[in-house]
Symmetry: C2
Subunit: 327 residues, 2 copies
C-alpha cells in the first residue's frame, strides 16, 4: 500500500516502472505533461480517484476528481482548462441515483472552474472486483508560460494559500466515525481562479507551484526542493491550521504537514513580489488564510527543515502508508 501513498516508495515505483525508458514530456516527472502547440503549451494531466468514503464532509468523489485535475493544470499555469475527461469504473449494483448525484457534483465543480467534462467512459466490474466507484479524470489546458514544481530558487519565499490538513483530517474522521465536532471539513475546491489571480499579480516572479495533496505539505515541498536543488526552511508558527484540525492531529499523533489537502497550493515566489501575490490571494475566497510559511535556502544535506521557534527539526520525506485511499 505504501507504493500508492504519495511518498518515497511511490516515487521509486514510478521511476522504476513508469519512467523506464521514458523521454520527452513525461521524463520531468511533473504532475502533467507539456506539449508545445504553436506559441502556447498544451498541458495534460491525469489522476485516478479511489477515495473512501465516496461522500465526506465538504465534498465527494465527483468534486474531488474535478478539483484535483483542474488544480494540477492550474499549478502548471493552465488556469483556463479546455476540458476534462471522466472515466468511471463502477461496481455492479452501484445505485444509479448515487451515480447521478456524484456526477452532478462533478458538473457543479466544473461550472465553478469554468470548464466541462468533454468525454467520458464507463466500465462496470462485478461485485468484489472494484469497491464502489473509481473515477479517472484527465484535463487539458493551454498555458502561455509553464510553471514547474522544479523552479524554486534560493531566496524565494514559500506561500501556502490557506489552512493545511483539512481534507485528510475530514476524510479520516468520516471513515472512522471519529467525532471531532462539525469543524472538520475537506477543503476540496478548484483553484484555477485563485491561481489566475496570483499569476496576474506575481507574473514571472512566481517560480514554482504545487498542490500539497497525498503526502501533504511535507511531501510536496520535498519534491519541489529536490527537483529545484534548494533547501526549504519552514516556520512552524506560521503554518495556518484550523483549531479542529490541530486538535485532531494532536489527538491522533499525526503531523499535519503530512496530511493531504485538496484545495491548497504551495507557491514559490521571488521576495519582491510577495506582497502583491499575498494581496491577490487574500482577496479571493479560497485564499483568505494565505500565509508566508517559509523560504528557500542553498541546497544542503536536508531538503526540508522546520523552524519550531525553539530550534530546528529535519522533516523527512513521508514514506509508507499514512492513510490510504485519501483521494
Amino acid at each position: 500500500m505504501k507504493h500508492g501513498a504519495g511518498g518515497r516508495s511511490m516515487r521509486r515505483l514510478i521511476e522504476r516502472v513508469f519512467l523506464h525508458g521514458a523521454t520527452g514530456p513525461a521524463a520531468a516527472m511533473d504532475d502533467g505533461a507539456v506539449i508545445p502547440i504553436g506559441d502556447h503549451f498544451l498541458i495534460v494531466t491525469t489522476d485516478s480517484h479511489v477515495i473512501h468514503p465516496l461522500v465526506f464532509p465538504g465534498g465527494d468523489i465527483g468534486r474531488l476528481s474535478v478539483a484535483g485535475t483542474v488544480n494540477d493544470l492550474a499549478m502548471m499555469g493552465a488556469t483556463e482548462p479546455l476540458g476534462l475527461t471522466c472515466g468511471a469504473i463502477v461496481e455492479e449494483g452501484f445505485p444509479v441515483v448515487e451515480l447521478e448525484r456524484l456526477h452532478a457534483s462533478a458538473r457543479a465543480a466544473c461550472e465553478e472552474a469554468g470548464t466541462s467534462i468533454v468525454a467520458g467512459d464507463t466500465k462496470v466490474m462485478r461485485r468484489g472486483e472494484v469497491d464502489g466507484l473509481v473515477l479517472n479524470t484527465t484535463g487539458v489546458g493551454l498555458a502561455a508560460r509553464v510553471v514547474r514544481d522544479s523552479g524554486l530558487r534560493a531566496g524565494d519565499v514559500i506561500i501556502v494559500t490557506g489552512t493545511i490538513g483539512d481534507h485528510g483530517m475530514a476524510v479520516m474522521a468520516a471513515r472512522h466515525a471519529f467525532d471531532f465536532g462539525a469543524d472538520l471539513r475537506s477543503d476540496v475546491a478548484p483553484l484555477n481562479g485563485l491561481i489566475r489571480a496570483a499569476l496576474a499579480a506575481g507574473g514571472d516572479a512566481i517560480h514554482a507551484m504545487k498542490d500539497p495533496t497525498r503526502g501533504g505539505v511535507a511531501s510536496a515541498l520535498h519534491e519541489m526542493a529536490d527537483k529545484s536543488r534548494v533547501g526549504v526552511v519552514l516556520d512552524e508558527s506560521a503554518l495556518p491550521m484550523r483549531p479542529a484540525v490541530r486538535a485532531a492531529a494532536d489527538l491522533l499523533g499525526i503531523d499535519p504537514l503530512f496530511i493531504a489537502n485538496e484545495g491548497k497550493a504551495l507557491i514559490g515566489v521571488h521576495p519582491d513580489a510577495v506582497l502583491a501575490v499575498m494581496a491577490a490571494l487574500r482577496a479571493h475566497r479560497y485564499g483568505r488564510d494565505a500565509a508566508v510559511i517559509g523560504r528557500c535556502v542553498e541546497q544542503s544535506q536536508h531538503a526540508l527543515v522546520l523552524d519550531t521557534g525553539f530550534g530546528r527539526r529535519i522533516v523527512s520525506e513521508p514514506d509508507g502508508e499514512l492513510l490510504p485511499r485519501i483521494c
Copy 2:
C-alpha cells in the same frame, strides 16, 4: 453488468447520468471530444480498461489501453497522437515485475503508433477493493478535419478493415480455457497508420469511422446508423472472419457480429472512393483482409439489416451482458 457491456442499456445509462445537462463538446456522444484550437481541432478521448485476464493471446492490458486510445483518436481524424496519459489502479500485492512487463508492452504499442505516455498516475487499493489492475488511458491529438461516427449518408459503402471477432473470441477462450487450437488471437493493434493511409487515399469521401469494440460490428453500426439517420444493409457472405473464430462462434452459439474487436475500423465511404480506400487499406499490414461489407440506405424502421443470401434478417442492437470485462 449490462450497463457496462456497450449496448443499449449502457447508452441509456450514459444519457441519463453523464449527459444530463451536458452541452458543448460532450453532447454529441462521440467517442471523443472536439475542441477548436486555431484552425485545427484538439481531439480528446478517454477509456478505462478492466480486461480479465490481463494477458491474453495476441496482447495484454498495456497494448490494449494504448491501442484503444490511439484508435479512438484515429477514428475522429487525429492519426498522429500528441500523447497519452495513463492512470493505473493497482491491487495491493500486484507483482512489480508484472507491472513492468505490462508497461513495457504499453510503451512498445506507443512506439508503434509514434506517440508516448506523457503523464501518469498510480493509485493502490487493498486486496478485494480492485481486481488486479485497471488502466485508464486518455489521448490527445490534433485533426485538420474531424471525422464523426454520425457522418454516414445513404449510398455510402461500409468497409471493415479486416476479420471480425478476433479479440472477443481470444479473450473468451483464454478466460475459460477453451481449447480451440492456436488460431484464436486478439487483433489488438494501433490503427492510426492504417487510418492515415485510408484518409490520404479517400480524403473527404470518407464520411464516418468507428472502431467496433464492445458490442462488436453490430453495436457500432447501430450507433453510426442511428446518429446518421440512415439504414445499413450488411452482406453476410462478405464478412471477413478467421475459420477459428467462425468455428468457435458456431460452437458457442454467439453471433460474431456482436463480438468485440480491438484492431479494426468501420469506414463509411462514398462509392467513388471505395477502390482507392480499399487499395490503401490492403497495402497496410493491418488492412490486408479489408472488405466491403455493406451499404447505407435511406433511414427506415430497422437501422441494421443482414442480407444472408437467402433473405434478410433484422440485427437488433445488442443489450445485456454478452461478455463482461472484454476490454
